[in-house]
Point group: C2
Chain length 242, copies 2
């Protein structure tokens, strides 16, 4: 087969937390598709591209696609359709094509929209795994997120009070991503449960990193979008029935 398309996980943001396999794939790629957003009217912002630059990847190989920041899926879908067509053309011409994704491409990554479209076009995509953000957050402070027989529940943003109560009551460790989306419920739970262990992470591995496990500090801190809150139930060693 001529060419091929590879989904390359970039890891959590700190450039060297990319895998050796992913780095080699990017170095060997002919063209690398990178998502970007518009900050203001003109300024293009791409976290993926900044990681590639830091890793010394030839930026001339990068092809940006602008992902509209909108809840209306029509505009986003149009962009993805165009990108899939372009990627298929490059692969068809025998080029090695990479599509980058932050964190792991198969773990809460919007890259799945593109991969699903490619699959519907009959084009197979190879994936290279990466370090998810919550794993890097834990490692950054030596926090053993889960060990032995502990359970972990990951909730992206829109937490419900009932499921949070239920999970922590079972002794689960809960990882909440995009904390502001469930802000009211999280703050209310924290206020009623000072006994649990809370670990708040923001921009881990960057200059803007903010990490705290001090209850009072988390409570007064304004949550930012790509934040992670790990809650370890005080009773996590009990209530796990055989």
């Amino acid at each position: 087969m001529n060419g091929k398309i590879t989904g390359v996980s970039l890891g959590p943001g700190e450039p060297e937390l990319i895998t050796v396999k992913a780095l080699k794939t990017l170095q060997a790629a002919d063209v690398i598709f990178c998502p970007a957003t518009l900050r203001g009217k003109e300024e293009r912002e791409s976290k993926a591209a900044r990681i590639l630059e830091a890793l010394g990847i030839n930026t001339a190989k990068i092809r940006f696609f602008l992902v509209p920041m909108s809840t209306d899926r029509t505009a986003v879908n149009k962009v993805y359709d165009e990108i899939c067509k372009e990627m298929a053309e490059c692969a068809g011409a025998g080029q090695k094509v990479s599509l980058t994704a932050e964190g792991d491409a198969c773990f809460y990554s919007s890259a799945h929209y593109i991969f699903e479209k490619l699959q519907r076009l009959g084009i197979s995509v190879k994936m290279i795994a990466g370090v998810p953000a919550f794993i890097a957050a834990g490692a950054s402070v030596g926090l053993h997120i889960v060990k032995q027989r502990e359970r972990m529940l990951v909730i992206p943003g829109d937490v419900s009070a009932e499921e949070l109560e239920s999970a922590l009551n079972r002794g689960y460790t809960v990882v909440i991503m995009k904390v502001p989306l469930g802000e009211e419920i999280v703050r209310s739970y924290m206020a009623h449960h000072p006994e649990e262990h809370y670990f708040y992470f923001e921009q881990v591995g960057t200059a803007a990193e903010y990490i705290t496990s001090v209850y009072a500090e988390i409570l007064k801190h304004p949550f930012t979008y790509f934040s992670i809150l790990v809650i370890q139930a005080a009773k996590r060693h009990k209530n796990i029935t055989k």
Copy 2:
């Protein structure tokens, strides 16, 4: 400070799925502590050491410690106490010390026993994140384990029927590690729920890799110890309440 101790995550087993940061740390290390087990009476087996060899790390730097395969913690604790003493001595002498862990060192890794002992000795340990096995399993077949607002529950081994029912009833994606430990309950759930999506993984990224998402094949397959079963609830897009 003279010397330092770093917990280095090796990733899921495929050597190049280690991070660039971890590889550089191992290359710069003066001494690398690697867990090993005895296979039979004489033959030493160390998955960690095999990864290091494949990555071209100087194996003369490796110091093995034999982890007794026993449910009695006394013998294991004794080994860990000795290792901590040795590591502290090396670090105190100004050496760069690495301790390796498969997968991610903070995610269901027995390395936490050693790190906790070191902390009690007043020695701080830096951690380098790695790709957990379940992430690599998903990527190996392009399976998007969770996306958008889906929830994921990770259960290590000793599944209870009630929590499995409860999680899948909520529409959660469930990741079961060390499937044989909960074999009876898992098989019973599968028999009663052919509608869910099952993905079984064994030795991903090695020559002995076995992966299937065929319901009937999983049901007749003898589960092995380090296997992973991902169950995506058929109703995973419903029942997630705001």
